[in-house]
Assembly symmetry: C2
Homo-oligomer: 79 residues x 2
């Protein structure tokens, strides 16, 4: 099954990459952009057909490796 894990910085954590993109977009002529947050997305092919089990496994992967829970939140979607 395909699983998508999205990892974003927690609210309040400094996001210099977002700030840089926001500034660059202003410079490029997109003045309407007020806020930018950058995160990562990890798409996994996982063996198994039990959606709940795959979801649980992906959450374990996110906690163990994919996200740094001190500064990041994650979201798991089974596709």
């Amino acid at each position: 099954m395909k699983v998508r894990v999205t990892v974003m910085l927690k609210e309040g954590v400094l996001d210099p990459q977002g700030k840089a993109i926001s500034h660059a977009l202003q410079t490029l002529g997109f003045p309407g952009v007020t806020e930018v947050h950058v995160g990562k997305v990890i798409e996994l092919d996982v063996e198994g057909s039990d959606q709940a089990a795959v979801q649980k496994q992906a959450e374990d992967m996110a906690r163990d490796l994919l996200a740094n829970l001190v500064i990041e939140d994650f979201k798991v979607e089974v596709l």
Copy 2:
């Protein structure tokens, strides 16, 4: 309006970060993971209330700055 731009490497482009995660997951005891792709997600707050116009603007941003179209594809979702 909130817009999410997801940028992933094109099919066939080498993804060393995905390979590294795949290998690390095997080592950590997740043998069922067969394929891993890593991309980035950019969430933007854009002024305006016309969904089609905001979508178009976000696509322009992706082409101009957020994605490298030689090796990456992007997807825009107005939330």
